[in-house]
Point group: C2
Chain length 271, copies 2
């Protein structure tokens, strides 16, 4: 899902989130947002009809580690009023995926044609925020160093189901030396609204992951012999669960092309 | 180092720490203190002549994880004024070890004959406090369940040395399933004055531990295939470092026979 280097290097990205959203809204960028607007919270998106949204909110509430809800819009209102200045979910993510009955039917760069008066949008926390906190504490993120996407796996951990939403938890993996893994637990525990502490460490077979070199999403990364794999609940979970429920309409951001908010990552720290 | 069951069952231990210290001070109990005075902080002891004490304080300051100092007495003053009502280091631990030039010369039940006007006593945090916090959060401590002492190992981790004090860090080990190990990191991180977060997890060979079934102190415990060994800095470290420095006089509590204070374990939580 990477964008070409050319498309990113052609653009002189503003660092302030308002200008960056204006650039994206203007159709001038439709790629990944990792590393853009440093320090700002980026969000996963899930958009559903109102008659599915309240149950989805319940599902998120019952599964806060994979589905930490940052904000919810009112039905038909495309603006996230708590995430910044004029954050319009229809236009401000670089690219989207539109599912009908669980099948991807379009990958547009805006939702102006597909928006409806009954749609409810969820902004869900993203690992970019806790990765920034890990880097600030001096840790190094392997997939960043290797220029890859984080490896993600469909685990054997069941989410807590609602009548229409259920499925396995998707987890992301970052390898660390043991002392750094302990530090990573401490740092990410401060960020429950962006997946929080890891859900597993060290024994992938226990959560149904047989081969770390074959992730279900993203890229495999090197794991050294002195490192443990550390697993966090992943924001791909709500997307896969929502698509699996086959609602008549479901829209997510395009992988890696997140909604950039005005919130500071540091504002999400509970301590 | 266990005491006979008879000696503990013969006594109707008061739960309040003042009465319990009075009982111990009266010479009516000289055994281990695990489980006595629930909720109260118990402390490791290290007592040194004043001309060694300031360097020992520096050593502790440089090595806060194995040597978290709870209180220090003034030279010659046997009373820990911040640890409770009339806490006398000469009489209020059940039993002591007296070292001269690094060699154990006596294991008395009080220090009235050996006390000197130049002695300085250190109360150092003990894992009993964080074990209580782990139990309160629903975790189970393997060596408790097996009725054993915690396994301890001399690791390959160097302490930060001062001119006269140096040596390897002693670590204690408790096995947990991965999700419980993550919870244990969170809970013990709140207790930096009683060793705090683990120093290592999962890969004992990396810290010089070749065989978990052969601890250097304490007892081997069962580790199941779905568990990781989790290692904490241990309060045996300051004792072994002090004995190794061969001061003319050094006194510690007897292993497991701690000084019981009036402080509540919950008071040590930083969050």
């Amino acid at each position: 899902m990477g964008i070409s280097a050319a498309s990113r290097t052609e653009i002189d990205f503003p660092t302030d989130p308002v200008s960056l959203r204006a650039l994206i809204r203007g159709g001038r960028y439709a790629g990944q947002t990792s590393g853009l607007a440093p320090g700002r919270v980026q969000a996963n998106l899930a958009i559903l009809p109102a008659d599915w949204a309240s149950e989805f909110l319940l599902f998120c509430h019952m599964n806060p580690k994979p589905c930490p809800v940052l904000a919810v819009t009112s039905p038909g209102d495309p603006v996230f009023r708590t995430l910044g200045a004029d954050v319009d979910v229809r236009t401000d993510a670089p690219r989207y995926k539109v599912f009908r009955e669980g099948v991807v039917v379009d990958e547009p760069s805006d939702l102006l044609d597909v928006w409806r008066d009954d749609l409810v949008a969820f902004a869900i926390g993203c690992s970019f925020s806790f990765e920034e906190a890990l880097i600030e504490t001096g840790l190094r993120i392997r997939h960043h160093e290797q220029g890859l996407n984080v490896p993600m796996y469909v685990s054997s951990i069941d989410t807590n189901p609602t009548p229409r939403f259920s499925g396995k938890m998707v987890v992301s993996m970052r390898p660390f030396r043991p002392a750094d893994a302990i530090r990573a637990v401490q740092v990410t525990s401060r960020y429950p609204s962006v997946h929080g502490a890891p859900v597993h460490i060290g024994l992938p077979g226990q959560i149904g992951i047989g081969d770390l070199s074959r992730p279900d999403f993203g890229d495999a990364v090197a794991i050294n012999g002195d490192e443990l794999p550390v697993f966090w609940a992943c924001g791909v979970t709500p997307q896969s669960v929502a698509a699996r429920a086959k609602p008549p309409l479901f829209i997510s951001h395009h992988p890696g092309a997140m909604l950039i908010t005005d919130l500071l990552n540091h504002q999400l720290s509970v301590l």
